[in-house]
């Protein structure tokens, strides 16, 4: 249901935003006509999806007696927290990329992600991360000559 609502809102926002563009006519379409049509189409489709989900839920509730009550909103589970932490670590590493350069970024990224995924022993984390960073740097920067950001350290 949440999905249908999100899609519906996206469709409506697109349609509204495309109204600020020249629409043109059907015979000579402007920039806005195509997105306007798409926005409306998306809104209609997601409305249909929402209705069908609602109906399915309604029948389910009727047929299954003692239906499982929707699970109560629980506080952030361990798993959700890990995903958020993981994503945040990647974002921080990418933000650092132009500053600390590619080699160190991979190092930082690997250390953070390995720790978040629960590898406790520092020697393992250090060895795997350093090896990955050096291997990546060697293959991508030296051999394939991809102009990855060098940052302050210069590599």
């Amino acid at each position: 249901m949440t999905a249908a609502v999100v899609m519906f809102v996206f469709g409506v926002v697109t349609a509204l935003a495309s109204l600020t563009l020249p629409i043109g006519t059907v015979r000579a379409p402007g920039s806005g006509l195509f997105p306007l049509a798409l926005g409306i189409l998306l809104a209609v489709l997601s409305l249909a999806q929402g209705v069908s989900v609602y109906r399915a839920q309604a029948t389910k509730a009727r047929t299954s007696t003692g239906a499982p009550v929707p699970p109560p909103a629980k506080p952030l589970s361990e798993e959700t927290r890990r995903v958020l932490l993981f994503a945040a670590a990647v974002a921080v590493a990418v933000a650092l990329l132009p500053v600390i350069g590619y080699g160190f970024t991979i190092l930082v990224l690997m250390v953070a992600l390995l720790r978040i995924l629960g590898i406790a022993r520092w020697p393992v984390v250090g060895a795997v991360s350093t090896a990955t960073a050096i291997a990546c740097w060697f293959v991508f920067v030296r051999i394939l000559a991809i102009p990855l950001p060098a940052g302050l350290p210069g590599f």
Binding site: F34, L38, T105, L109, L117, T132, C136, L144, P149
Partner: protein, 498 residues
């Protein structure tokens, strides 16, 4: 025709010299390496290596570049199968069944079938290139904006529900993709559209960022969300008994490979995003005519064999318009054209008559290149498959590092990495809602082409819609679309009447 075969033999003689074999091998090897990195596809690979070919004679240089091309096309399937990371448009469909196979411990057969399918498709397509190149190339020119618009409409109607999920959800994803595709500079009017005054967004949304994000990063994040004891595991314990496909696998794949070759060869001749249409269409056909329909979505080998063959056949037949009429129909042939020009070779009708030796040597080297790729890749299958022996808690960070690097290499842009991460988050959420990525990518890739072709047609006809109906190819395609839509309705009506 016989003459062509004679020339082809002469071409083999040139391509088989020790020196040219070496360049072919070097090209295939470098191409595979480049292709394995998500994002660094054939275009970047060829561009990077054009300067390296400056010192070579044109024939050797072209042979090497052709090797890079095939190698890179093939390399893309490896990451798709092992990590669910499609490096380029053509690999999206390989992810769908290929990665499922890997999760069941069948990464080996998936990788082998991909290599074998590519090889067989390449072989057949090379002969197609020799025998029927000329008339096909001229026919391809008949594709103008109205035909193109009709083809896109046909593709959307037929391919929207490619993975066979809920139709409504697939359609929603296609439309979301279409909307994302409208961002950036309006290609027809030249003004800004949904770019929020950002120079970066003016260029539109980078396709590879969405592909790697929704598939690769989304997959990584949903693995991270698993309970801790799962993370200590490997992705799956590959069964080393069956690293290579069984007889049954081969039998099941063969028909799929042949069908994929046919689909790919034809679509490769159409200007535009041939690989997308070819691979989606091949997957669709395999799913529809599957002997074991239940396996689709859970690792059906036909779903790897067909699209991989289609992909390679399309790559091969895309050479036809380039060599025969000197017109590049896609980005890869375009950069090959550039490389040819640097070497003083002008492709076109004059090439075959003026320097037949070079032309046929390159055709022969394509075939040899495909063969070398097979030899090169089959022994690597155990090595690649054993990558899945790494515990997930180490493998997932490695994949992240890989995706970040690969994404950057596409346009050398850090902003692309951010875009990829945003779509990774979106992909993770969509997974939770059971919405699929493949239709989204279809809309994103084909949408802008549809809009442009539609508007170009109307500009040419000055607003007269009959342009779509008075031309044989476009009206034929539109009729086929209508038939596809109405057939189920008629069938139902017929049943009711009886």
């Amino acid at each position: 025709m016989l003459e062509s075969l004679q020339y082809l033999l002469g071409g083999f003689a040139v391509a088989m010299t020790a020196q040219n074999l070496l360049y072919c091998f070097a090209g295939a090897l470098v191409g595979t390496l480049v292709g394995v990195l998500p994002g660094l596809g054939p275009i970047a690979g060829i561009a990077l290596l054009i300067p390296a070919t400056f010192g070579l004679n044109p024939t050797s240089a072209l042979i090497m570049l052709a090797g890079i091309y095939y190698g890179a096309m093939y390399g893309g399937s490896t990451t798709s199968i092992l990590m669910n990371v499609p490096g380029e448009t053509a690999s999206v469909m390989t992810c769908v069944e290929g990665h499922k196979m890997a999760q069941q411990g069948r990464a080996g057969p998936a990788l082998s079938i991909a290599a074998l399918g590519s090889f067989i498709a390449g072989t057949i397509a090379t002969f197609g290139l020799v025998l029927i190149a000329r008339p096909l190339a001229d026919a391809a020119l008949a594709f103008g904006p109205p035909e193109f618009a009709a083809l896109m409409i046909f593709a959307f109607v037929v391919l929207s529900n490619v993975t066979g999920g809920t139709l409504l959800k697939s359609l929603i994803m296609v439309v979301v993709g279409l909307i994302l595709g409208t961002m950036g500079m309006d290609p027809v009017a030249g003004n800004e559209r949904f770019s929020f005054d950002s120079a970066y967004l003016l260029g539109g949304i980078e396709f590879v960022a969405v592909a790697i994000g929704v598939f690769g990063i989304g997959e990584v994040l949903s693995n991270v969300a698993e309970p801790p004891e799962q993370l200590e595991q490997t992705v799956v314990v590959p069964r080393f008994r069956d690293l290579y496909p069984t007889m049954t696998d081969l039998k099941r794949s063969m028909v799929a490979i042949l069908r994929g070759t046919g689909i790919g060869f034809i679509t490769g001749l159409v200007p535009g995003p041939a690989p997308v249409i070819a691979t989606y269409a091949s997957y669709m056909v395999e799913r529809r005519y599957a002997k074991y329909p239940d396996e689709f979505g859970h690792g059906a080998i036909e779903g790897v064999a067909g699209p991989e063959a289609a992909n390679n056949a399309a790559a091969q037949s895309a050479y036809i318009p380039l060599f025969v009429i000197g017109v590049p129909f896609g980005p890869v042939p375009a950069i090959l054209l550039g490389a040819l020009l640097i070497h003083g070779v002008t492709p076109g009708p004059l090439l075959i008559t003026e320097s037949p030796q070079l032309f046929w040597a390159v055709v022969a080297s394509m075939y040899i290149g495909n063969f070398i790729l097979l030899l090169l890749n089959l022994p690597f299958v155990p090595l690649f498959a054993s990558m899945l022996l790494i515990p997930k808690r180490v493998l997932l960070p490695l994949i992240m590092a890989f995706c970040v690097t690969g994404m950057f290499s596409v346009n050398n842009s850090v902003l692309d990495i951010w875009m990829m991460l945003v779509f990774g988050a979106i992909g993770y959420v969509l997974r939770g809602w059971a919405y699929e990525g493949a239709p989204l990518l279809l809309g994103l890739v084909l949408g802008p082409k549809l809009e442009v072709a539609f508007r170009q047609s109307l500009m040419i006809s000055q607003g007269d819609f009959s342009i779509f109906l008075t031309r044989p190819v476009s009206s034929g395609l539109l009729l086929a679309t209508a038939a596809f839509l109405l057939l189920p309705v008629f069938k139902a009506g017929w049943r009711r009447l009886r």
